[in-house]
Amino acid sequence: MSHSALDSSPAAAGSQTVPETAGPLPENVPAPKARKARRSFLPYGLILPAAVLEILIHIGPMLLGIWIAFISLTQLNLTNWLNAPFVGLQNFVNGLNPESTIGQAFFSTVGRTLIYTVTVVGLSWILGMAGAVFLSSNFKGRALLRTFFLVPYALPAYVGTIAWAFMFNQRDGAVNQILVDTFHLFGEERPFWLLGSNSFGAMIVVNVWQLWPFAFLMLMAALQNVPTDVYEAAAIDGASLWQQFRTITLPMVRPANGVLLMVMSLWTFNQFNIPFVLFGASSPKDATLVSPLIYQNSFGSWNFGLGGAMSVLLLIALFIASVFYIRMVLPKGADND
């Protein structure tokens, strides 16, 4: 199990203090002792560059970000931010009070972002799975299609989004050109895809278009390990396609799903680029996600404490959700390492 390397069970973690080969060695022989010392340093030496970078770029800024949630950082003191006044929980009170307009907006945005995440990840997984299952069989042009399906993932995110923004244009866009002019849907009214409640759906379409190839890639890789004779045996037993899918394919990709779904959910929940390119700095009310809201409440208003407070709350929520998820889902795959 691959991810077990990162998430080894608590029992294994507890026994890791003793180097694996230390036990049987005679204690008074000098040479192995030196070897032992070197070996105990080696693992740390190897992770050192990664650790330094993580501290500098991820952990350090995150701690500073948390700190910012407790100070009053505005345009008045941004040049001298080290001396910005400590205000305790004031930012949390201002920004997250469910009675206030800002607080209400925050909590409804979190709910909307959750729905968004579940929808996008779910659709991406279904499309990815469909592509993976059918491209696992042998036929002419298979390699070509496989490459082609991965193109949206390889495109820079900005390119994919701007293409969709161009297509979703109400008056001149390709989407209404097909739906209204060619198929005469929606009567004669050209719907607006980037305004009002439709904008939420439009954003989901763009995100799924960009994300599904990733699910496709990972699931297809997982299906490479399914031997064909298992299917043959099932077919001889009279299992239908759906039964084969349920009893053979699905269990085979379960370990891959564990981390795939988590990573995709985190990326989607924190989505910023797509709404920013589609709608600019202020999204329609029905399509405001958490990251753009935080952006608006920190960079838009030069009140970084407020945005910081929102971020911290989210971070806590995501952390709890992830820990819960790792406990619930990942250990299942972790025991056969």
Partner: protein
């Protein structure tokens, strides 16, 4: 699955729909990039009335695209190489060696994926400012700052994928080599790396794609001299005018290097992932 007739019909239907879904936006981009600006303004034409390559020439003068291209190439290639190197070392340590704090390190690295990028945009900038003030090392507006930022962003996923891959390589391989007298590191470089080539390619592709398309941090950490390609695309749509055809042409140009690289290595990519990340 077993190829019954129903399976084949279903397969053709599903794959056709998926292909259309992928193809339509790509067609819109490419066809728009070949139209004169006046034809772009009105209702979208599926079949261009007039085809012209001139947007592909104009893009180089509307914004200094060649310079952005060079910047992106330097930053992305450096970030990818560094990221892969650092990830290989850390992943090997996690996959093969036992040490105190391993689980904590692994979980911390993976959990960085949950930070909203927006949370540490300003803090990162403030830290870079402090580093400059203290040491004189210029990280804002320089290649270096963006390189270490991008390589760190891709590290968690890269370490996770590679440690999975390394763990799947039989221990006997390197044990044999270590008995021959090579140390741990020797074994890593002589035995593991060649075997792990598909996994490393998969990680490199992932790092490259992530860095090539990033815009949020690039918009704050670069200046005119170090601006990246993805960021430069925005310049075709200014407040005073939107050059849709040039924007699309530039999009094609920006995407081509990634696509070509992707097509070249995608065979290894699937093999790498299937042996490593998803097993």
């Amino acid at each position: 699955m077993i190829e019954t007739r129903n399976f084949r019909i279903l397969r053709n239907v599903v794959l056709t729909l998926l292909s259309l879904w992928v193809a339509v936006p790509l067609y819109v981009v490419v066809s728009t990039s070949l139209k004169p600006l006046k034809d772009v303004a009105g209702l979208f034409q599926w079949i261009p009335r007039e085809i012209t390559a001139s947007p592909y020439f104009e893009i180089w003068t509307t914004v200094p695209l060649a310079k952005y291209f060079q910047n992106s190439l330097v930053i992305t290639v450096c970030a990818t190489i560094c990221s892969v190197t650092v990830a290989v070392l850390a992943a090997y340590s996690i996959a093969r060696l036992e040490f105190k704090g391993k689980r904590a390190f692994s979980l911390t690295v993976l959990s960085t994926q949950m930070f909203p990028g927006i949370l540490f945009l300003l803090p990162l900038y403030l830290i870079f400012t402090q580093i400059r003030n203290l040491t004189g090392v210029q990280l804002q507006g320089s290649y270096l700052g963006l390189i270490i930022t991008y390589m760190t962003f891709t590290l968690p996923f890269a370490i996770w994928m590679l440690s999975g891959y390394f763990a799947s390589i039989p221990k006997e391989l390197e044990e044999a080599s270590m008995i021959d007298g090579t140390g741990r590191l020797g074994a890593l470089f002589r035995v593991i790396l060649p075997v792990a080539k598909p996994g490393i390619i998969a990680v490199a592709v992932y790092s490259f794609i992530s860095a090539w398309g990033e815009v949020l941090f690039a918009s704050v950490l670069t200046n005119e001299a170090t601006k990246t390609l993805s960021l430069g695309l925005k310049s075709y749509a200014s407040e005073s005018d939107v050059f849709w055809n040039q924007l699309m042409a530039a999009s094609v140009v920006v995407s081509l290097p990634v696509l070509i690289g992707f097509i070249l290595v995608q065979k290894h990519l699937v093999a790498g992932l299937s042996a490593g990340a998803v097993k």
